[in-house]
Point group: D2
Chain length 333, copies 4
């Protein structure tokens, strides 16, 4: 399987390193607009052809799949062109800048019988896969809330605000773990550099049940926090990605509602029990993901992070942006 990589900036080298390790995969092309990045790729991987023009990749008939690691605004035109030239596509998150763009890409992939997969890296971590397993077998009971914090002193982006930069990670986790469809989104944020782009933002997603999901994303935090709390009716879970081990902890804690409460009795009973940290698969998520992409292409499988999943994340972000622009307030998904 011959692959072309577009973009050798921040994330591209990680994709390159993992793709070149897969048995039976040949990375034939690497393109980047900057000559120094092309030179670096060539130094490290002398067998790869470099170019500043992605068209060289699209027009190479022997290339079966294209991996896009470029800025957000370019996802739509590049993915569209790749799909039009009958190449399978793995594209950085988010899938596109608008729902309309995302739908067009999804439809084009479907029409041409091609795999369109979004790089929702976290979905391929041992931690998130174990969390899905735990939730799917009912270990947590009914889900009450998901609270996510992803903050650090972050690289300001030029073309997207902090929501579009960081929240796709957490929204991809939300949509992977929770099957109920989201209904309303509200978001509020602030811009402290005068760039017109929020650097601190809070986003809430509500559902028909009383499940609630909340996201704090922040480029201006002195400390790095990557934590998700999930509360359920039976048990609760903490996913702390900054822990070197025991990233996922399940707490046998909760409250039990009393049905025949009186005014003088407590409405709920407490339960605090053991804590349990399951063993996690430790392979690099991107390695798992790249192999999954290759497998989906070879065996015509639906990726875990499909175009549909990517589109739902864009739908949530688009609603959040609308709410943010209006100073908060609910926007339907």
């Amino acid at each position: 399987m011959r692959v072309g990589l577009v973009g050798y900036g921040y994330w591209g080298p990680n994709l390159m390193r993992n793709l070149t390790e897969i048995e039976g995969v040949e990375v034939r092309w690497c393109s980047d607009q900057r000559a120094d990045r092309c030179a670096l790729a060539k130094k490290r991987y002398p067998f790869v052809k470099v170019t500043d023009n992605p068209e060289d990749i699209f027009t190479d008939r022997e290339v079966e799949a294209v991996v896009l690691a470029t800025p957000v605004f370019s996802h739509y035109p590049l993915a569209k062109r790749a799909l039009a030239t009958h190449k399978h596509v793995l594209v950085e998150k988010p899938l596109a800048r608008t729902v309309a763009e995302g739908e067009e890409l999804r439809d084009l992939a479907e029409k041409n019988g091609l795999v369109l997969m979004v790089d929702h890296t976290f979905v391929y971590t041992g931690a998130v896969r174990k969390m899905k397993e735990i939730i799917d077998v009912g270990e947590l009971g009914d889900l009450h809330y998901l609270d996510s914090v992803r903050v650090n002193l972050g690289l300001f982006q030029h073309d997207v605000d902090v929501l579009w930069d960081l929240a796709p990670h957490d929204l991809s986790i939300l949509t992977y773990l929770v099957h109920e469809p989201p209904r309303y989104v509200s978001a509020i944020g602030a811009d402290h550099t005068g760039s017109g782009l929020s650097d601190v933002a809070y986003m809430t997603v509500t559902f028909d049940s009383n499940f609630i999901a909340h996201f704090h994303v922040n480029w201006l935090s002195p400390v790095k926090v990557r934590q998700i709390l999930i509360g359920g009716s039976r048990r609760m879970l903490v996913y702390n990605d900054m822990e070197p081990s025991e990233k996922v902890r399940v707490y046998d804690r909760g409250v039990r509602v009393r049905t025949e409460e009186s005014i003088h009795r407590a409405l709920v009973d407490y339960r605090t029990g053991d804590m349990w940290a399951p063993k996690l698969e430790l392979r690099e998520a991107l390695a798992v993901e790249c192999e999954h992409f290759v497998e989906c292409v070879r065996f015509k499988k639906m990726p875990w992070s499909s175009a549909a999943a990517g589109l739902l994340v864009v739908r949530l972000l688009e609603a959040a942006s609308k709410s943010l622009a209006a100073g908060g307030g609910s926007v339907p998904v």
Copy 2:
């Protein structure tokens, strides 16, 4: 100075223990509706008169001050009666259930020349006092945001939701540290026990400047988090109350906005420098607070946690409740 304590439940014993240690203070009365609590108080402090009727305290002419450690709904009637019988008052947070009640109490105290102080305990911790010092000398520069998380598997309250139970702590810290007046409040939450009271809630406060404050309060968290991040234009601060020492950390980190940016240059520059954890006063906050109350009574001083401060907290909570009931959306303070 003779004092009466009303309420010997969860918090009352802490007030009693601290009040009895102050030189020149005599705790003459302790009242509680439950006979077993009165008996316990009597066993521990045989010199204190116990009663199930707070009127015994209000009508004792030798009692100068009353400390109220009772459920929220009783703050207004008890404080009103105490002020009417010419006693100085230290009342549990929040000051009252409504702005109207709070204003009436404030006015009555003023009219009668009495001290009305609210038990905003955190304002009396070494950590928060040091934070105020750091902010007031300009160490952080212009404030960008305050992000507060106060979550744990908490005791469900019967008469108030999680916002009215936990947020007063953080709102009292906000109003103590930040001098700019709050303008709008929005809040969203969920009730998972069918009690009609939210057990998870998020609250945002906005200001005329682009400073933004956000609060996460939660009775259903498997882990206890008590953390405040404050971002400023010069430096940033983390207050982690769960740390046994070094609760306050100042980070010489930040971004500097470039005025003449071009599309090819970064909009902002990064700065990461040293971290610094100032030595903190370690005395028990409640001991400091009780002594401060006594001093305010003796020397007719304005408490740090005055009726005005207590009222501002109630004003924010009342606005938050309105927003919560409406499913989010901005409500003016």
Copy 3:
């Protein structure tokens, strides 16, 4: 049951607070050489008689039990006198300054049919009791090692070095958890203040099996560490007393020795599995301990921290002191 407390300095007030809460116990006396400490005890507990002379307690025939919270050098004479006047005794750790003194006290208690209990507080914590339970049911398999660290910026003692001050805690845990008799002790340390007393020390205890126990005690550490690692053939355990919750964690990790290894195969296989933190009893250890003392007196029971346990700790300390004086090297227990 009438009790007298000797010593109202650092630890005495905690004993007093817990003793006065026990149903059926009357603390009749409190003695301290310092008048201000007597005055403080009187202010807090007006019903207790205070004296600067412990003889007043020993000669009060109605006093059944004496609790000693005084400096180490006084344990032997005071306990001896108390036992001679037919009072049950709860004495601060360590039981005595020498094995000879300890043996005399143990024999005297036995002869007079009295309870002699040592205040090995940690043995009464939920954490250590749960650890004993886990070890006793064989959850850890054969024990390989116990590694203990107890360090902080500590109060220098006048009459004992850091080993005699801090190690009794950890040695009492060792002797409570491990049934195999210790054989040899070695210790090394250093004195940085010229006082002649080590402020940093390391102590190793060996056994007939290849189980090994090691202790690091230090008054000169900038950070507070209270951690014990226990490795076993089946599982391993970490006890971190600085954790607010989950103080005890059991790791399903280990190595399995291969019997028929060859030079090209690994000698051992690895196993890393789940981690599990059992729920712990949260009651204050000293409350549990004081009640246990009262129960032992009432029902003629052998305390968990008996004179024999206290004596074994003194035996280990005496051997360690010999090794320390000799600059290290093994000393038989």
Copy 4:
């Protein structure tokens, strides 16, 4: 500069990755006895010649320097051969298995005018370099102790025990930071797999002053700890390598000895002040080290981790092994 790498097992790939990134360095050869490792190196770096025979490298006259990433027993013969064929050498830690071997290598390098550098990686971390800076300017005052813990569930080695496997890291840090010559070493340990090699060990190094250094190394720990405490007369320092940031913390804490103490006054005064975490250089240590090696070769400089430094580490290990075999007890260095 043409370089040959011997050994492409666990550590070799990291050396390869860093060496190939240095401007002006050509990695011409990679040798490994295993064909699959050679194949992997060839796949990743097609421009490198692979061989199962290191002689191919030694006899290539154009190769100027050799990097050895092989098991400990082979360091001496391979380094000797490389120096004999006039190649500069960077060798894995420890330099050799015995002091005699190390001295021979040092002398041979000196005689042939070649650089012989030991891969003491930690010496090239931003953390350890900053610690040296802090100590050298006198920030800590006189050094009192260094306490090091390096434990985890580690890969059992076939040819060396846990002391020779893990302690070289910490001993290289000790000898880099502390200028006073070590005098005596004692060590104690235990073997729980019957392999004859200790898997848990404690080592103490003493000096003419009352400075003391202690090392805990352990392959059987359920948790990973990498921490060094350094106590000084003015300040104290904690180096926690598991912290994602703020690895080095300086505490303005200590004790001050009173000269005219009486029996009733404390012998020492306490001081607790601020804590400070300096900004650290974040470059990968191995990148810094590889560049340093190239620079030393080019400009005939003495490496920070010279043969002399490597030899001192071997000297300490050899003494420790002697003490360990004797069941503890002091051995002169």
